[in-house]
């Protein structure tokens, strides 16, 4: 009886407004995330002709040499990318958190520059700079008689991916190093510990959760990435295989689905391992007046070494940008360290034939980002401020999108919506451009949701209670108090979603039905397929970099302003 009374009580306390919002969001997530992904998993276990449950598809996968090689290649490339990214990130994180170092500003920008250019955009340019007959190797061969296989096969993917993704490790590791209370270190010194032992016994274990978080993110990103291997023409990896199976054999072929399930399983495994490694280790230890580890000045020789390392990494990080810039102005660039001559012709080409790529991108990315912040704000509010039963599940499901690679979502959409005819036109729903927007929105939702949740957490609930106490309804309170106070976080979430959605390729490439509906990333991929298209492709890439760069800059400005307004700028 008590349990029944309890349920009745809980039902009575549910207000219709939040419940309706929750239902709408649940329906959206169900339709555009859960159903497509479940569909993919379902088909992977289905007999192609009879539709009965079977494990034959998986047996085929594991007996196929190409697939097994792709599997190990994906694994190897991801693991090595983590290693190389760590080698780039560790010295930088250590320099900024342990030393009074003027180059710290430089390092901060190092943490952003790679992120404003998706790896696949710079991949071709990197080939021209670091490839077998690229600038660096031409010079090395001419002057020293040897070359370095930076870009040979899998090396190229590892090289491009680690340059792009090392900021994830840098940012997470620096944050957790900064979060170590100085007293943690001082108490160890006080008890007789110093030097490397201090680092090994206290600093390193306390910074470990940040490192694991960053490293697992890099692993998943690289494992799932489709664009970079495709553009570098490395096809024996899992994501390209999934794409090629579906695009060349068709959506009925079960192998694409099996590979999708393997991709999801590996993403989940990586997330699980990192969660396991971090369990019970939320070591945010800074207390009042704590303020991070003790810093010291660099000695002159150390200073030279520090600048050496920072500049070397800066050169590497800027290489794709510089290469892309050169390529976009080059007439011919082949077998020579720099292009033969320069021209504006490629930009002209882009303007005349590819205007629709850019306008499509702006439309899709802004719609997707708008959806993300609306849903993100609503979920954050439902979770933190209402007692709605099951509200936590909205958060869980939205975050689960993290573990779904773009290729898988694309395949899922094709499978789920191809047979659904559109009203009036009768075209398959999966060909409708809005589907692309939904895919982008689902892909970026986890990031927007975290930004909105963080923003709402900073709004004290007593501010709302004060408004209600003075006679505002719940809805008016949300509109007049909560959303304005969250606006910084919401805007930052919007811009981040926009900037990353603008250059998403994995899901896009599966869902683009016609050239006229295609966004920039797809156009770039098409251009880069031919030698003649490289110039215009690079020019289009420059546009992508500008869009993402502007977006990132704007979100930075917005976040900084919000921080200043809240008086945290000291």
């Amino acid at each position: 009886m008590t349990s029944l009374a309890l349920t009745r009580d809980r039902i009575a306390r549910v207000r219709p407004g939040p419940a309706l919002a929750a239902l709408l969001i649940a329906a959206f997530l169900l339709l555009f995330l859960v159903v497509p992904v479940v569909q993919v998993i379902f088909v992977a276990f289905q007999d192609k002709t009879t539709g009965a449950f079977t494990l034959v598809n998986f047996a085929d996968f594991f007996q196929n040499d190409l697939f097994m090689r792709s599997f190990w290649n994906s694994f190897y490339v991801s693991a090595m990318s983590v290693v190389v990214a760590s080698l780039l990130a560790l010295p930088l994180a250590y320099l900024t958190t342990r030393f009074e170092f003027r180059g710290a500003v430089l390092i901060q920008s190092l943490g952003i520059i790679p992120l404003i250019m998706p790896p696949f955009i710079g991949a071709v340019a990197m080939q021209l700079l670091f490839g077998r007959n690229g600038s660096v190797n031409l010079l090395l061969r001419d002057h020293f008689g040897f070359s370095i296989p930076f870009m040979e096969g899998l090396n190229g993917v590892i090289f491009v991916q680690s340059i792009h993704y090392f900021p994830f490790i840098l940012i997470n590791l620096s944050a957790s190093l900064r979060n170590i209370d100085r007293a943690m270190e001082e108490s160890a010194q006080n008890l007789g510990c110093h030097g490397f032992r201090l680092f090994r016994r206290i600093v390193f274990p306390l910074a470990m959760p940040g490192y694991v978080a960053g490293a697992s993110l890099v692993f998943i990103k690289v494992f799932d990435d489709l664009g970079t291997p495709l553009l570098l023409n490395v096809n024996d990896m899992l994501a390209p295989q999934a794409y090629l199976r579906i695009s060349s054999i068709g959506i009925a072929d079960p192998m694409g689905y099996v590979i999708s399930v393997v991709l999801i399983a590996c993403s989940l495994l990586a997330l699980w391992v990192s969660a396991l490694a971090m369990r019970g280790k939320d070591y945010a230890t800074v207390q009042r007046g704590g303020g991070g580890l003790a810093k010291r000045r660099l000695k002159p020789l150390e200073m030279v070494a520090a600048y050496g390392i920072v500049l070397l990494i800066l050169v590497l990080v800027l290489a794709p940008h510089v290469g892309l810039g050169l390529l976009s102005f080059a007439t011919i660039w082949s077998f020579s360290p720099v292009p033969d001559a320069f021209t504006l012709k490629h930009y002209q080409t882009v303007f005349t034939e590819s205007g629709q790529y850019i306008t499509n991108t702006l439309l899709y990315a802004s719609l997707a980002a708008l959806l993300d912040v609306v849903i993100g704000t609503a979920i954050a509010y439902l979770v933190l401020r209402t007692k709605l039963p099951g509200r936590q599940w909205l958060d869980y499901i939205a975050m689960a999108a993290l573990a779904v690679p773009g290729v898988v979502l694309g395949i899922g959409y094709l499978r789920s919506f191809y047979d659904v005819p559109m009203p009036f036109t009768g075209q398959p729903l999966s060909n409708f451009w809005l589907i692309l927007v939904f895919a982008l929105a689902i892909r970026r939702l986890p990031y927007a949701l975290r930004a909105c949740t963080a923003a709402l957490q900073q709004v004290s609930s007593s501010l709302e209670e004060a408004a209600e106490n003075l006679g505002a309804t719940k809805l008016r309170t949300v509109g007049r108090i909560v959303v304005p106070l969250m606006s910084g976080g919401i805007l930052a979430g919007f811009v981040t979603s926009f900037a990353t959605a603008a250059v998403e390729l994995s899901a896009t490439i599966m869902l683009v039905h016609s050239q006229s509906d295609a966004p920039l990333a797809y156009g770039l991929y098409v251009y880069m397929q031919s030698a003649a298209g490289r110039g215009p492709g690079a020019a289009l890439g420059i546009f992508a970099v500008i869009i993402v760069g502007l977006g990132t800059y704007l979100s930075h400005v917005v976040i900084e302003r919000g921080r200043r307004e809240r008086g945290q700028d000291h």
Partner: protein, 378 residues
């Protein structure tokens, strides 16, 4: 939950036997952060085995001075000596000065036992001895049963004890406590300070205690250095400081002080008197007043006596006349705020059941014991 330190005579005696009480001398210490002069010519002599407090408001330099002794700050001038040896140039890890941090600074990735063992491991103490001494230290603070917990699984008071055990287990030469009670709730704070005192007495460990709470310092410390603005204002026993404050800051920081503005004059008979509005001349002892005509008269609320009868002042007393402004009923006594010549003076009247209270705005006559009043400078 037993909050008493367990009285394991064996373990604490064993620890105490190892500890040789040493003195700390601080001489001419000056420390600046850029143009911010934080410590100004600090001189202190802390005796072996003493429980000593640095007391002052926040920003007075007390924590900076403590961290200087631990080696986390470097003075531009001056030195710190432990049993006569200058340690100013030693790095923190070689000082053998145990410090308990305000935040406790327990390492979250280690169990209680590993936290406490840490300092011994750093000293390359044999494994078996480490286990034995860690057990003894945990017994000392009554937490051996929680040895395998993580710090995050302990209450604030328990974390405090672990931090203490972690520090005393290395048998440091001196013990530094940085506001150790500030993170505890009021009830636990009162209890912990007695436990700290009994631990310190058991171990005979020279201890320096930083606090901004005069009650904390008064109740457990042998001597107190009152600090303000980077300077040591006065050093003495709690009673010394209360009864004979060296200046107005010390008088006001410890207890309630009445301060009257006025002037010092010769009384024509070779002595000096304090004259002010609403008060008859107060005879000053011959030793004071060397500072010229300036200075203010300081006395405590209990130095005043209400003269309801209105008779002549008693021998050795000055007479204050004024108006009651407001009153606070404190139970054992009633505190009246009295306007004397435009300045507010607090007076405490003992209270018994049935006593009538004096009404605000009523005139009042007070007698001040002249020998309890002091002429002070800022």
């Amino acid at each position: 939950m037993n909050h008493q330190f367990s009285d394991q005579r064996f373990s604490s005696a064993a620890l105490a036997a190892q500890i040789q009480s040493v003195g700390v001398d601080i001489e001419g210490v000056n420390l600046s952060y850029g143009s911010n002069h934080v410590l100004k010519d600090v001189n202190l002599a802390i005796k072996p085995g003493e429980f000593f407090a640095f007391l002052g408001p926040s920003g007075c330099g007390k924590t900076t001075l403590l961290r200087l002794i631990a080696g986390f700050n470097t003075a531009q001038r001056g030195e710190v000596r432990i049993s006569g040896r200058d340690i100013s140039t030693l790095p923190p890890h070689r000082r053998d000065v145990g410090m308990v941090f305000q935040s406790y600074a327990l390492w979250p990735h280690m169990t209680v036992r590993r936290n406490v063992a840490f300092g011994l491991e750093e000293r390359r103490v044999p494994r078996a001895e480490i286990e034995r001494r860690v057990d003894a230290a945990l017994d000392l603070v009554g937490l051996r049963h929680l040895a395998d917990r993580r710090p995050s699984q302990l209450s604030g008071g328990q974390q405090q004890r672990v931090a203490l055990a972690r520090t005393v287990v290395i048998e440091p030469k001196i013990l530094l406590l940085d506001e150790p009670l500030s993170n505890l709730d009021a009830k636990l704070r009162v209890q912990m300070r007695q436990e700290l005192l009994s631990l310190q007495r058991k171990l005979g460990l020279t201890t320096i205690f930083v606090t901004h709470d005069q009650e904390e310092a008064n109740t457990i410390c042998d001597r107190i250095a009152v600090m303000e603005d980077g300077k040591v204002q006065q050093v003495g026993t709690p009673q010394d400081l209360y009864d004979h404050p060296a200046n107005l800051f010390v008088a006001g920081f410890l207890g309630t002080a009445n301060v009257l503005d006025g002037a010092v004059q010769n009384d024509g008979a070779g002595g000096r008197v304090f004259v002010g509005d609403g008060v008859t001349p107060v005879a000053l002892p011959p030793t004071v007043g060397a500072g010229g005509a300036g200075g203010k008269l300081m006395f405590r609320p209990q130095n005043l006596m209400i003269r309801a009868d209105g008779g002549p002042p008693a021998a050795g007393h000055a007479r204050l006349t004024g108006t009651i402004r407001h009153r606070e009923f404190l139970g054992a006594s009633i505190r009246y705020a009295v306007d004397v010549g435009g300045q507010l003076v607090q007076v405490d009247a003992p209270h018994q059941a049935g006593d009538a209270l004096l009404a605000p705005d009523a005139p009042i006559i007070l007698d001040l014991a002249a020998d309890k009043a002091r002429l002070l400078h800022p």
